[in-house]
Amino acid sequence: MIKIENLSKSYRMGPSEVSALRNASFTIENGEYVAIMGPSGSGKSTLMNLLGCLDLPTSGIYRLENQEIQNLDLNELARVRNQYIGFVFQNFNLLPRTTALENTELPLLYGRVPDSKKIALSALEKVGLAGRAGHKPNELSGGERQRVAIARAIVNNPALILADEPTGNLDTKSGTEIMTLFRNLNNEGVTIILVTHEKEIAQEARRIIRMRDGKIISDESLAKDNESC
């Protein structure tokens, strides 16, 4: 479960203070599929970085699986990212010159998980890329690269997958495949938070949080029948 209360983040820019996020509060239960929408500069990236434990809030409370994240130090943040969070980026962010299998294995390596090869291979199987395990990113198509990234995100059984414009760099067909993959993962009980500015993509989620000027302006649940299309 994710619970944020009055979460705020401000940056110093020279003499002035810029508020990127102001008093955001919400709760996301395990197994939810949430889209965060908003124009650029609305604070959604800041919110993503905070939820992804890449950054610490200026004030407020962030509770992830009963841990008070705002009180952690850098090493503990790294551990939380490793064990509870999977990232999927717009530009894939795979290591170059490194095979799909090794890319998938990376979080397990830093988590010192034994049998990492086997676990990584089964994660690749889940995204339908077991046959491409030995290929390097430059030998894979864009859709395949993003699927490797998803395999890497789910390999450590995270509590939460954070996807930042995951279809932004893909053609429609690959994009649809990726969204199908997310829906299947969500059906298996994985919590997904999706950042996007495309309406159609956001419609895939069951709940949409809209942001503007660092504030949450709406939080609506969608009808369940979206699931069946």
């Binding site: 970085n49 992804g52 890449l54 950054d55 850098l74 090493n75 790294a78 551990r79 990212r81 490793n82 064990q83 990232f87 980026f89 962010n93 795979l94 290591l95 170059p96 010159r97 490194t98 990376l106 979080p107 390596l109 830093y110 988590g111 010192r112 034994p114 990492s116 890497r152």
Partner: protein, 402 residues
């Protein structure tokens, strides 16, 4: 398991930039190879110097006329040292095995139509074994020949070569400054020192040299061989007392002679050669430093280039010290590899110098460990700053880096 993973990643990163890795490693190779070869060449030069010097005997005390301050200046013109002093030392000092009075001067040697100039050394019967010469042919002159001032000579190896073209000269007669001398024997070559050739001289009885050849009655030096090396200090004291008495030097006045200990001389030369080694080692250590700076430079470039990779690693859970380790491993690998290949090159260069230059270079285990350890320390030292820089990156900015 993680360390193996990090090692594999480091190897892959180095392999991905083969040329860059090669050039950086080359810097270390040159540094380590030069440290090793320079130190071993320095050591060999020291050893060679000491070996050649010790051929003249390390338990020899030399008495020279004049005051000690004129240590390296020829003191021919001081005429206070005479043959009777040598006889007195031989008969009155305990614990000595031989005494050789000496006088030397350049002279013209002639055999048939061949003419060479060389050094004539007038000395006593003990000189040959005192100065570690060995006879090649014939014999050295004896006591009766010294007493009766015979015109006999023993030739050094270079003279034999120049005058007789390596034919056996024993029994032949040569002319020294126009006078006939019978050749009694020849010496085995000792090998040349850098500043003079001990084989380019001939030996005649000291009395003959004084009366018949040079027309003088003084000596240039008296060599005294001490039986036991630990007696040297005592023998020097005894000789000083005896000489002061014989030369009537009153109490409180400076000696009109001085006693030189060849062991002292040897250590002096050894020290000089040692500082030469340090100098060579120090200069080559600079090239090792430059190699280290090369590592630092390339690691800084590498860290910047791989900013995004660092961001990815941090996002999936790499801690700061794990990022630092990864880059440190890379720089240590470079310096380790450079060290290993450099050691091989260093040994090869030393071997080459010893076969081509005839120097007996020995690469000691200590030198290898020193150079190798130094290179790894350099890898850590110069790799730390870039690695630390990598570990301090902000993951959000690193992920956004283009």
């Amino acid at each position: 398991m993680l360390i193996l993973g990090l090692l594999k990643m480091a190897l892959r990163a180095l392999w991905a930039n083969k040329m860059r890795t090669f050039l950086t490693t080359l810097g270390m190779i040159i540094g380590v190879a030069s440290v090793i070869s320079m130190i071993s060449i320095g050591e060999a030069s020291k050893q060679k110097t000491l070996d050649t010097i010790s051929k003249f005997g390390t338990n020899i005390i030399t008495v020279r006329p004049g005051e000690k301050k004129t240590r390296h200046v020829a003191t021919d013109k001081v005429t206070t040292l005479v043959l009777e002093d040598a006889d007195a030392i031989e008969s009155q000092i305990a614990g000595i095995t031989g005494v050789a009075a000496q006088i030397q001067q350049g002279a013209q040697l002639k055999f048939r139509n061949k003419n060479v100039s060389s050094t004539v050394r007038g000395t006593g019967k003990d000189y040959a074994w005192l100065a570690n010469y060995q006879l090649n042919n014939g014999r050295f002159f004896g006591e009766s020949e010294v007493r009766t001032s015979r015109k006999v000579a023993v030739l050094g190896a270079t003279v034999v070569k120049n005058l007789f073209e390596d034919k056996n000269p024993v029994g032949e007669t040569i002319k020294i400054d126009g006078n006939n001398y019978l050749v009694l024997g020849t010496m085995v070559a000792k090998g040349s020192l850098r500043w003079f050739d001990p084989d380019d001289q001939i030996f005649i009885p000291v009395t003959t040299a004084q009366k018949r050849l040079f027309g003088i009655d003084y000596l240039q030096s008296i060599d005294v061989q001490v039986e036991k090396i630990e007696d040297i200090e005592r023998v020097i004291k005894d000789i000083e007392i005896l000489m002061r008495k014989r030369h009537r030097v009153s109490a409180g006045k400076e000696d009109d002679f001085y006693v030189q200990n060849s062991a002292e001389w040897l250590t002096g030369w050894g020290d000089a050669a040692q500082s030469f080694t340090y100098l060579l080692g120090g200069i080559s250590a600079i090239s090792l430093m430059v190699g280290g700076i090369g590592i630092m430079n390339i690691m800084l470039v590498s860290v910047t280039e791989r900013t995004r990779e660092i961001g990815i690693r941090m996002a999936v859970g790499a801690k700061r010290n794990e990022i630092r380790q990864q880059f440190l491993i890379e720089s240590i690998l470079i310096s380790f590899l450079g060290g290993a290949v450099g050691v091989l090159f260093g040994i090869a260069i030393s071997k080459m110098v010893s076969t081509m230059g005839g120097w007996d270079t020995a690469v000691s285990l200590n030198t290898i460990l020193l150079a190798f350890g130094f290179s790894v320390v350099i890898g850590i030292f110069f790799g730390f700053y870039p690695a630390n820089k990598a570990s301090k990156m902000n993951p959000i900015e690193a992920l956004r880096y283009e």
